[in-house]
Amino acid sequence: MNISREKLLWAYERMRLIREFEDRLHADFAAGKIPGFVHLYAGEEAVAVGLCAHLRDDDFITSTHRGHGHCIAKGVDLRAMMAEIYGKATGACKGKGGSMHIADVDKGMLGANGIVGGGPPLACGAGLTAKLKGTDQVTVCFFGDGASNQGTTFEGLNLAGIWKLPVVFVCENNGYAETTSPRYSVSGQDIAARARGFGMPSIAIDGLDFFAVYEAAGEAIARARRGEGPTFIEAQTYRYYGHFEGDSIRYRTRDEEAYYRSLDCLQRFRQTVTA
């Protein structure tokens, strides 16, 4: 794989920033400083950064309730994000949105979203704008294993398929929709296989490996840019913290958490580039 030194440094910096940002929020929430609900992205950094490494400022992303990583990877201002999470007038959304609704349309970030499965139809709309305006802009639609069961996701996959929209669907399968594993909630178990039924290329990848994400994302985004239609990527990953801060996490084992921490995406990135 051919990645410039500059791009590697950018990617590691972004992943590191996301981790630091989320760890800081974890501590601030525990200290009672943050109002409302925050859903942290720590552990999943390789997915957002591996995708956004191929995007331009004028490309679009739609995000989820766990959106801080997507924002940082897409280049939303960190201070504006933090101010927003603190509910301040200087926030990215003037304190009107909070953690679950951070957006920066000028950066192509069409919003975190408090509705599971809210994003895929919106992503199709952004893709339709690019198609009808004749630009080569691409939209990346992030959602989770929980949203992979929502009707809106299937409707979005269908629309993107029949209209050959420049949309890349990225299912971040982090193992749990709130408390529940896809082992219980996903019929057929194979999320990536579902998308093939809509006639688009679809692969499952190791979402903890930045380089695997970067490679799959590069192909999918290039394909969308060429006007060849949507692609589906199931990135298998893991969230380090609970569904939201304050979650007692009584639905998985500490051993499992330790196992995934041993596969940490930042550590693997360092090992790969310094080997």
Partner: protein, 344 residues
């Protein structure tokens, strides 16, 4: 001597007026597109004779595909969440989509995309996004279409800040309000009454805008104010005519825009007449009719000489049987009775 040259008054049907508004706006602005179920029809087919097979289920978008093509007059699969949401996403990124939600009852299939996405995005994003989306949808009983295709449940949308809601009663208003809705930077729910499509009326040529949020006094009077919405405006005007024959002068106000609401036009009239009847085809609970009554009670109670009368359907789904459906819809007779009751 002055020679008066009388121009022939051009009449169009409500359907034609809406079609003309769409055509003019699509010509003026290449970012205006139409999306919906069978807005042209037969998109699978290469056969020229199949082109524009429907032009909308009741033919409102007929002919537009010939001028603007299938890219801009875009048939969708029957997936309301998918294509209404795509309309929201397209609006957020630079298009001005006019999405057709065939019947207003179908809101039940896609409410999240309307009320959690379209309505809230501008606010949640601190004002940094615009959603210039129009959702055209059909309302109204009287078509023998039964409970899921006959609702007038616009009050549901009025409930949500961030949405604008319009319900024109005449062809001229339909054209001017639709042009205003398309040019507006917020999502607008544009409610077309299916029993009005064939109604004809004078419609000015060319582009014109009727601002959202302006009611119109359709008939002036001094004894009682009748506020009405959409097709009920016609029933109110008929009732006013009958009341006039009985020596009662009724003022008829067409709200036209349900959100934003032109409170001042209603209050001015109530202050003048001291009596208020509201006619609404929507379900009576938590309705626009109730909202107007609240307006009078909270801001003009001292002017009221009688309790406010609401003329609405019963709080039931729309029945299928023609006998029951005809009894369900507020009639001019019921409006006359209500108006007379306010006069004691």
């Amino acid at each position: 001597m002055t020679v008066m040259v009388e121009e022939a008054v051009r009449t169009l049907s409500y359907r034609e007026a809406i079609n003309e508004a769409l055509r003019l706006e699509m010509r003026r602005d290449p970012t205006v597109i139409i999306m919906g179920e069978d807005v042209t029809g037969a998109s699978h087919s290469e056969d020229e004779t199949h082109l524009d097979a429907w032009g909308g289920v009741l033919g409102v978008t007929k002919g537009l595909v010939h001028e603007f093509g299938r890219q801009r007059v875009r048939d969708t699969p029957i997936t309301e969440s998918g294509f209404v949401g795509a309309g929201v996403g397209a609006a957020a990124t630079g298009l001005r989509p006019v999405v057709e939600l065939m019947f207003i009852g179908f809101m039940g299939v896609c409410l999240d995309q309307i009320v959690n996405q379209a309505a809230k995005i501008r606010y949640m994003f601190g004002g940094k996004a615009r959603i210039p989306l129009v959702i055209r949808t059909m309302i109204g009983a009287g078509f023998r279409a039964a409970a899921q295709h006959s609702d007038s449940i616009y009050s549901t949308f009025v409930h949500f800040p961030g949405l604008k809601v319009v319900a024109p009663a005449t062809p001229a208003d339909a054209k001017g309000l639709l042009i205003a809705a398309i040019r507006d930077d917020d999502p607008v729910i544009f409610c077309e009454h299916k029993l009005l499509y064939d109604m004809k009326g004078p419609v000015p040529e060319g582009e014109y805008v009727i601002p959202l949020g302006q009611a119109e006094v359709k008939r002036e009077g001094g004894d009682v104010t009748i506020v009405a919405i959409s097709r009920m405006v016609l029933h109110a005007l008929e009732a006013a005519e009958r009341l006039a024959q009985q020596g009662i002068s009724a003022e008829v106000i067409d709200l036209r825009s349900l959100s934003p609401l032109d409170e001042e036009t209603v209050l001015q009239s109530v202050r003048k007449t001291g009596r208020l009847v509201v006619v609404d085809e929507d379900n009576p609970r938590c309705s626009v009719a109730g909202d107007i009554a609240t307006l009078a009670a909270t801001q003009a109670l001292e002017f009221l000489n009688a309790p406010v009368k609401l003329v609405t359907p019963p709080h039931t789904p729309v029945p299928f049987s023609p006998v029951l459906e005809d009894a369900y819809v507020p009639s001019p007779e019921r409006i006359v009775t209500a108006a007379r009751a306010t006069l004691g």
